[in-house]
Symmetry: C2
Subunit: 223 residues, 2 copies
């Protein structure tokens, strides 16, 4: 029984990896950079994206694929802030996006008019870590209202990430959270991690985040 479960899981993961490679190649053909944004529920992915689309939606030609378990609330919230397409994926109870869902969402996006694709994953600190979506970089949002030992408790998410965005830093005066220790715990799991500290509410630190997005996009030919 257990053996059968593992076999099935391995085949499912192998198929996902194949599809992710196809997504990656397809995005590369169109010169589109892709970021996979992950975090606990409520860490502020959608709010950060709202601020991002307001400022960089047009300049960086950003398209968004927003995954949600049951509603398309996140996609609706984001659509208010951009004329660009936000494609909703409702996972119907599944706890993460997979490469097939991203591939199907891309069919509804004009990739020739897109430079940066941001994939807002399902709010979950465990499951999304195992699923390659064809992204170029993985970004974990880590909010200061969580415990600073989260990287040690959920190591896979941090092992596989490239950047950690510390969110809701405006709440630091009110919470028992040591941000230096939190970042050290991240580095203990993955010494290559880089950090940005932001408050989407006050705007503090957003320039660092915007810089990261600027550097992520492929330079336009002839520019």
């Amino acid at each position: 029984m257990t053996v059968r479960r593992i076999e099935v899981r391995e085949r499912v993961m192998a198929r996902n990896d194949e599809l992710a490679a196809q997504v990656r190649a397809r995005l590369a053909r169109h010169g589109v950079a892709a970021l996979n944004l992950m975090s606990s529920p409520g860490a502020g992915k959608t709010t950060l994206l709202e601020r991002t689309l307001e400022v960089l939606g047009e300049p960086l030609a950003i398209a968004v694929v927003a995954g949600d378990v049951q509603t398309q609330n996140d996609a609706d919230r984001l659509s208010v802030h951009t004329g660009r397409l936000v494609q909703a994926v409702v996972t119907g109870g599944a706890c993460h996006l997979d490469a097939l869902q991203v591939s199907e969402a891309l069919d509804h996006i004009d990739l020739d008019r897109t430079r940066l694709l941001i994939i807002e994953n399902v709010g979950n600190l465990v499951c999304p870590a195992s699923w390659d979506l064809g992204e170029q970089a993985r970004i974990v949002l880590f909010t200061v209202t969580e415990g600073d030992d989260k990287p040690l408790k959920y190591p896979k998410m941090f092992e596989k990430a490239d950047w950690v965005v510390m969110t809701k830093t405006d709440l630091l005066p009110y919470v028992p959270f040591d941000i230096e220790r939190a970042e050290r715990n991240c580095l203990q799991v993955n010494s290559a991690l880089r950090f940005i500290r932001v408050s989407a509410l006050t705007g503090n630190g957003l320039t660092g985040w915007f810089d990261l997005l600027h550097r992520s996009v492929v330079p336009l030919a002839g520019v």
Copy 2:
């Protein structure tokens, strides 16, 4: 392929339900009440349990099974506050506890000297909802730093719950969170839900939570 996945999943879930029924019967034989505590990562399960064990650990003869993905940090934190046994379950990457893990953890707990078992599930708002652990009631912690639409986005967790504990209410002045709307969203998903508002940091509302625990335990024979 998809059919095979579903078949395997159904067999796994059916086996879990059998084991959960056995856990429930075993706890009933010993007169032990059991609560399944669930939430997003960082919603404050461990901190609430620390406060709980300090005050009610001995009077209610509380034992704890603490599930963690990779560390046993939560169990270690709790052990500081109680002489009673805290049994750690490290799920090795799995995103929820299952009834087999709880059953095995119970082998290490003296049930004849326990009146209340609190199961601290893995921090995850999706996966644990599907897994019966043999509990009598399910309690979801919902922190005011999350979005107030969480019940609509993660309905299964709230559909299957009995109580919602709103946590970190001391942060309400600093966050864009409408607690009345949050509770209305909970009721929209499950009209039978009941609420407690607490701050484990300031102690506000903890008496309501302690009352719930008092009422959960089976009256001792002859008392």
